[in-house]
Every structure is written in structure tokens, then in C-alpha cells.
């Protein structure tokens, strides 16, 4: 078995500030990896580089043997709508607001070549149920749904083609605490059921503990500590990790 996604020696500067300063990451099939760190630590930049959205100044990114940085636009998009998923922090960035809930979920199926209206609806309804949305509401626009429901819809839209790797950018950011718990539990359940590899960026230590198998701690563009999720949180070595963990109540 080899890593699903493997990045080596990533470097990227925005002006004078290094956003990534020699970062290497491997994500294995079925593994949930969380990147924690404060804003400006480089974790979001890392997410965008790994998902091929921006090119680093130096370093390599390989997905299942393919050189992600050398992929054509067509190849990258194909990955993005088949084997990869991307969950945005803001559901409105990940959904088409002018399109019904069912259409939002069905779009990736159509992109993957599904041409039967009936099956698209069937699968979309099943996925709405899976993310705990009422399939009877599949013809309603996303604006009729609450923030937490929109986020779950975005997840359904993303997972409907059964990707192998899902990137998540602060998926619970901006949601009420009670809504967050439900969403985290759903993500945890789906990731387990589907054997998803997840690359999760979050500043929420509790979310990282709940979801992640492994944690990377980033600071100033560098991974200062990484390892087994519970070990990083319960036995932090690096001063910054200790600070991060001690700042959280009952994580």
C-alpha cells in the first residue's frame, strides 16, 4: 500500500512572508488528517496547494501516482469531480444557489456522465437522506435551508460520486455549536463508512480530536509537530502545540 496523496518539500512565498516553508505530507487511503494552527500559519495555503489550486514555488505533489502539479486543467478538473471532493467553509461557495437541492447533489453525477434523470433523482434523494435532509425537499433551493443544512447539502454534493479523497476547509466554521456537533458526527460517520481519506483544515482542536486519525500542527509555514491525533493532543512536544492545546477547554 502506498500513500494516496504525497507532497514533498513544498515551498511558497507570498511577498516576503513564507506561506509554506518546506512542508511534506502524506495522506493514506481511509486516513483522516487534520491540520491545525492559527490563521496565517499556512494551513489553508497547504490545502490549496495539495488540491492543485495554486502551484508552489518548489516541491512535488503526487496523487495515486499522478503528478498533481503537472496535471492539465482538464485532468485536475476530472479529479476534482470524480476522485476528489472539496468542502468549502462557506456552503454558499460550494453550492449553486440558483439550483435546487437535488440538482446540486446530482450535478457531479451528470459531470461523470450519468444521463438518466430517474437515477439522478434516486441517488440525490438517497444522499439527502444520508446527510439527514428530507428528500421530499429536493426541489427546493438551498436558500430555504439553514446554515447547517446547507453545509450537509454541500457534503452530499461532494460525496455523491464516492470520491477517495476529500479536502475540507473549516467545514464547521461559522456554525452554531450544536449544529457543529451534528455536522462533525456526520462527517465522522461518512468518512468511516466510505473509507474516505480526508484532509481537514481547522482551528478547532475539538473537531480535530473527534475526526482525525493524525494531526499536523502548523506554524509560520512549517509543520512543527505531527503524529497520532490523541498523542499530539495529550502529549504535545512542541512549545507551540502545548500552547495550542492548553488554550482549549476540555478538548
Amino acid at each position: 500500500m502506498s500513500a494516496l496523496l504525497q507532497a514533498e518539500g513544498l515551498r511558497l512565498r507570498f511577498g516576503a512572508a513564507p506561506a509554506l516553508d518546506g512542508v511534506s505530507v502524506a495522506i493514506w487511503p481511509g486516513e483522516v488528517v487534520a491540520v491545525v494552527g492559527e490563521s496565517g500559519s499556512g494551513k489553508s495555503t497547504l490545502l490549496r496547494v495539495l488540491s492543485g489550486q495554486i502551484a508552489p514555488d518548489a516541491g512535488t505533489v503526487h496523487y495515486a501516482g499522478q503528478d498533481v502539479l503537472a496535471l492539465s486543467e482538464a485532468g485536475r478538473r476530472r479529479l476534482m469531480r470524480t476522485e476528489w471532493g472539496y468542502v468549502h467553509q462557506n456552503a454558499r461557495d460550494g453550492l449553486r444557489l440558483g439550483v435546487s437541492a437535488g440538482g446540486n447533489v446530482g450535478e457531479r453525477l451528470m459531470a461523470a456522465g450519468e444521463r438518466r434523470y430517474g437515477s439522478i433523482r434516486e441517488v440525490a434523494a438517497r444522499w439527502m437522506e444520508r446527510v439527514e435532509l428530507d428528500p421530499a425537499r429536493m426541489d427546493e433551493p438551498p436558500r430555504n435551508f439553514s446554515g447547517g443544512m446547507q453545509q450537509r447539502l454541500q457534503i452530499a454534493r461532494c460525496l455523491v460520486t464516492e470520491p477517495r479523497l476529500v479536502f475540507m476547509d473549516e467545514p464547521t466554521g461559522g456554525l452554531d455549536v450544536s449544529v457543529q456537533a451534528r455536522l462533525l458526527d456526520l462527517i465522522r460517520k461518512l468518512a468511516k463508512e466510505m473509507g474516505l481519506a480526508v484532509f481537514l483544515v481547522t482551528h478547532d482542536i475539538a473537531a480535530a480530536r473527534l475526526l482525525a486519525h493524525r494531526i499536523l500542527v502548523m506554524r509560520r509555514g512549517q509543520v512543527v509537530e505531527e503524529g497520532l491525533a490523541d498523542r499530539v493532543l495529550d502529549d504535545p512536544r512542541h512549545p507551540y502545540t502545548q500552547l495550542l492545546v492548553s488554550s482549549v477547554l476540555a478538548a
Binding site: A181, R182, K192, D234, H238, P239
Partner: protein, 229 residues
């Protein structure tokens, strides 16, 4: 008897960077063996590092030096140096752990917690019943349970999958006499099927009934502060 676990030369300390970098050594040259069918009780004064040792053996704490050889899928692997993926596999198949407190996952019902550990649904239900958790609680998330009830869910999850190696941290601490008896029975059954158990038993009566031998963990003298301090 088959050797299940062999720890040697374990060193573990904590450097508290937020407290000026002071260094707290806890374990030094710790060594321990565990064979199939036996139960080893960690003993020693409180604060001596029993809990730290148990957590090092579980992988929750990383060791500074030494090895933890552990029989996984028929071969001895160095658990202390294992990659996170291997640690996950070992915890899923080989190494069970019952912590002092259940870390509650929101919205996951008691029964599912046990099932997710790899126990057949009916067996999980039977085990919860045996832990005196009535059926009406099985479908509820344990967040609202009492401490004792949560601990019994925790025990069901730990004993359910029949791990070859089981680590127990004060398994009977918050239990009444009847449930304590259940735990003693579970431990004896586990030993009988060939499992090796390492535990911290606060309750001496329980300890004497289940443990085959004691392993003393002694406090090491306070080390000189690091240069940074």
C-alpha cells in the same frame, strides 16, 4: 506461554514549555513483559507513573527512549516506533484500552459505540445488558449518562472485541459492588481465552482476585531542571 508484549528501557518525561521549559522525568529504564493468559497489575505510590506507563504502552504518550514490542498479527512489532497507521491497526485489532473516563462522541448511541469497536450488534447488546445497562439506554448517546453508566459503556467497548492485549486504567473505580463483580468475571474470562491484561487497580480486593503478579512502578528522583529553565 506466548509472549504478547515486551517493553524495555522505557524513558518518559515531560518538558513543559509553558512553564519555562521545566522537565519532569517520570519513567526511566522501565521494563515489562506480558504473556498470554496473565494479568499484570501495576502498583506503586500514586504519582509514581503507573498511568504514564499505561499510556505509553497504549501509544497515547510517546516514549523518549526504549521499545514496546508487541505481538500483532503473529509477529512482534515495535509499537513505540510504529507509524500512526500501524498504531491504528494495532489498536483496532490487537490492543484494547479501557480509560478511566469515556470520551463521549456527540450523538453516537451507547450500542453504536460498542458496535463501532467491532462487536456484533447482538453481542454488543448482550454485553451492555450484562453491564446492567437496560435496553432503553442502548439507543441513547451516553453524554447524559451518570459517570458509572458511562464507564460501563466504556468497559463494554473494551471487552467486547476480545483483544489479545487489554490495558485497563482503574476499570472498577466508579462502579458499585454488583458491576465490580461483572468486571472481575470479564477479566477472568479474558484471561481464560488467552488474553494478556495490564491494569491499574485501585481496588485491592479486585486486584488480588484478577492479578497474577504485580509490577512495581517506582518514582524516580526529581531531575535537575534543564539548562533553559
Amino acid at each position: 506461554m506466548t509472549l504478547l508484549l515486551k517493553a524495555e528501557g522505557l524513558r518518559k518525561g515531560f518538558t513543559l514549555h509553558l512553564q519555562g521549559g521545566i522537565s519532569l522525568p517520570v519513567l526511566e529504564g522501565e521494563a515489562l513483559e506480558l504473556h498470554a493468559g496473565e494479568c499484570v497489575a501495576l502498583s506503586g505510590p500514586s504519582g509514581a507513573g503507573k498511568s504514564t506507563l499505561l499510556r505509553c504502552l497504549q501509544g497515547n504518550y510517546g516514549v523518549d527512549a526504549g521499545r514496546v514490542l508487541l505481538r500483532h498479527r503473529g509477529a512482534m512489532v515495535d509499537f513505540a516506533a510504529a507509524e500512526p497507521r500501524l498504531v491504528r491497526d494495532i489498536r483496532a485489532e490487537t490492543l484494547g484500552y479501557v480509560s478511566q473516563f469515556l470520551r463521549v462522541i456527540p450523538r453516537v448511541p451507547a450500542l453504536e459505540i460498542v458496535v463501532e469497536a467491532g462487536v456484533e450488534r447482538e453481542a454488543a447488546r448482550a454485553l451492555l445488558r450484562r453491564m446492567n445497562l437496560p435496553d432503553r439506554l442502548h439507543s441513547l448517546p451516553p453524554a447524559t449518562f451518570s459517570g458509572g453508566e458511562q464507564q460501563r459503556v466504556n468497559l463494554a467497548r473494551g471487552f467486547g472485541p476480545a483483544y489479545p492485549i487489554l490495558l485497563l486504567d482503574e476499570p472498577t473505580a466508579s462502579l458499585d459492588a454488583a458491576n465490580r463483580e461483572v468486571v472481575v468475571a470479564l477479566i477472568l474470562e479474558a484471561k481464560a481465552r488467552g488474553a494478556g491484561i495490564i491494569g491499574i487497580f485501585h481496588d485491592e480486593e479486585v486486584r488480588d482476585r484478577v492479578a497474577d503478579r504485580l509490577h512495581r512502578v517506582l518514582p524516580i528522583g526529581p531531575a535537575p531542571a534543564t539548562e533553559a529553565a
